[in-house]
């Protein structure tokens, strides 16, 4: 069963529907027992970093996720804010500690100087840096849907799986062992997005 972690933010309905349509058993919850029973986890996200991380801490979700991901080695997929929450630190409205699974800092897109608008909203092509089963059937140059104002700057380049470009290099996808995350929204990226999610549910890191 895929558990979508409900932390009070985000477009949970769309994420759940996308998993349903590709035939997976899915549950939206913040219940710790249900999270323990899951086979794989999804940390979705639309919203602000501070609210997100606070909610995870208040409900004890951060500890449980740590246990499932770092000890039990269950596959996890972070999406958008869900990707950023995996990092060490974010500078969105202050300075906030993240889950720390991925070494790096989340910083505001600094692209107004290139006459580019922030947020970065729309379809942008990705460049795959590292082959992974999650991009099976997906090639560099495919477009995915992005909507964000902050970008993860990875400390360790080997965590970087795919990038995009918007004035600066955008971290589009990262992977470290059983942890995978995308800045783009697969659940909103039509056929290619669904293909990616299908790859995720078959993934055995």
């Amino acid at each position: 069963m895929v558990v979508i972690i409900d932390y009070g933010l985000g477009n949970l309905f769309s994420v759940a529907k996308a998993f349903e349509i590709i035939g997976s058993d899915v549950l939206i919850t913040n219940n710790l027992d249900k999270i323990k029973q899951s086979d794989r986890l999804v940390l979705p996200g639309v919203g602000a970093f501070e609210d997100g991380i606070k909610y995870l801490q208040q409900k004890g979700l951060d500890k449980q996720i740590r246990e499932e991901v770092l000890v039990k080695k269950k596959p996890i997929l972070g999406i958008c804010l869900g990707l950023q929450l995996l990092a060490d630190v974010s500078f969105e409205y202050g300075n906030h500690k993240g889950l720390g699974f991925i070494k790096g800092k989340v910083k505001k897109l600094d692209v107004n100087k290139f006459n580019l608008k922030v947020p970065h909203i729309g379809w942008n092509n990705i460049e795959i840096k590292k082959q992974t089963p999650l991009f099976k059937g997906i090639v560099s140059g495919e477009d995915f849907y992005f909507v964000h104002s902050y970008n993860l700057h990875c400390l360790d380049n080997s965590d970087l799986v795919a990038v995009s470009s918007y004035g600066e290099q955008i971290t589009a996808a990262i992977q470290k062992d059983n942890i995978f995350a995308t800045q783009f929204h697969p659940e909103k990226s039509q056929d290619m997005g669904l293909k990616f999610l299908e790859n995720f549910i078959k993934w055995n890191p």
Partner: protein, 252 residues
């Protein structure tokens, strides 16, 4: 690089898809669910649903439509119409919308933009701005489907909503809406050049060239349209391919 977005605008009234002209007289266009699916199949880049249903009792239509569209269309959805508080916003987002458009409430209380943006994330909040020429011939922002004047200049108000942390602006020229005689390029350009958030141009598309102009001349980040899709034989495929031929970056 990011592509120019082509966004069908779906106007809803009492659960039906309609199309107005200059915010007044309207035609029934069909079943919004069916038509949304067609635009999804044609690879529209996003969909905007604006509900202009007058009565409170019939507001559930928007939620029902969003829910059923989001079950089948895995693409970005924006929805608006009468969103005045967090609960309404949350309900719309829970039903499958990714972004919400606010209008009247933003004018009544500009702080609402900041509050809702902090709550749901800046990139979730679209501020919808409708304007037309007032009796003295100056462009002015109107609310309540163009019936109530606000005294605000559309360019100044755009700068203000950016300051208040809006993520995006949906800019509609009421005088142009439904006329199919082209965007109000002058104001679109002035607004796009005055703010550093994306601007969606709306109102007046009659030909694919109008769409190209909206981006090349108007500097819009995205283009929205209704009549050209509802009443002519144009479709999103043809629009994307024509834009590509003109040198614009679009999804293929």
């Amino acid at each position: 690089m990011v592509k120019s977005r082509v966004i069908p605008s779906l106007l809803l009234k009492n659960g039906r898809l309609i199309k107005t002209k200059q915010f007044g007289e309207y035609r029934d266009v069909g079943n919004p669910r069916t038509i949304a699916k067609i635009y999804d199949a044609q690879r529209a880049d996003e969909l905007i649903f604006l509900d202009i249903t007058a009565s409170i009792e019939k507001r559930h239509f928007l939620i029902d439509i969003l829910t059923s569209v989001a079950e089948e269309c895995f693409m970005p959805l924006c929805a608006g119409g009468g969103i005045r508080n967090f609960d309404q916003a949350r309900e719309v987002l829970k039903s499958g919308a990714d972004k919400i458009a606010i209008n009247t409430k933003a004018i009544e209380n500009p702080n609402f933009i900041t509050e809702i943006s902090k709550k749901f994330g800046k990139s979730t909040i679209v501020v919808s701005i409708d304007y037309k020429k007032n009796s003295s011939g100056k462009n002015e922002v109107f609310i309540d489907r163009g019936t109530k004047s606000t005294g605000l200049d559309p360019i100044e108000w755009s700068k203000e909503v950016e300051k208040m942390e809006a993520g995006e602006i949906l800019l509609t020229c009421i005088d142009k809406e439904g006329t199919m005689n082209g965007y109000d390029l002058e104001i679109i350009q002035k607004v796009s050049d005055s703010v550093s958030i994306p601007v969606i141009a709306s109102g007046g598309v009659g030909t694919i060239q109008d769409i190209v102009d909206g981006i090349f001349i108007g500097h819009a980040s995205a283009v929205s349209m209704g009549s050209i899709l509802h009443f002519t034989d144009q479709n999103i495929f043809k629009i994307h391919s024509h834009m590509h031929e003109k040198g614009l970056l679009v999804r293929r």
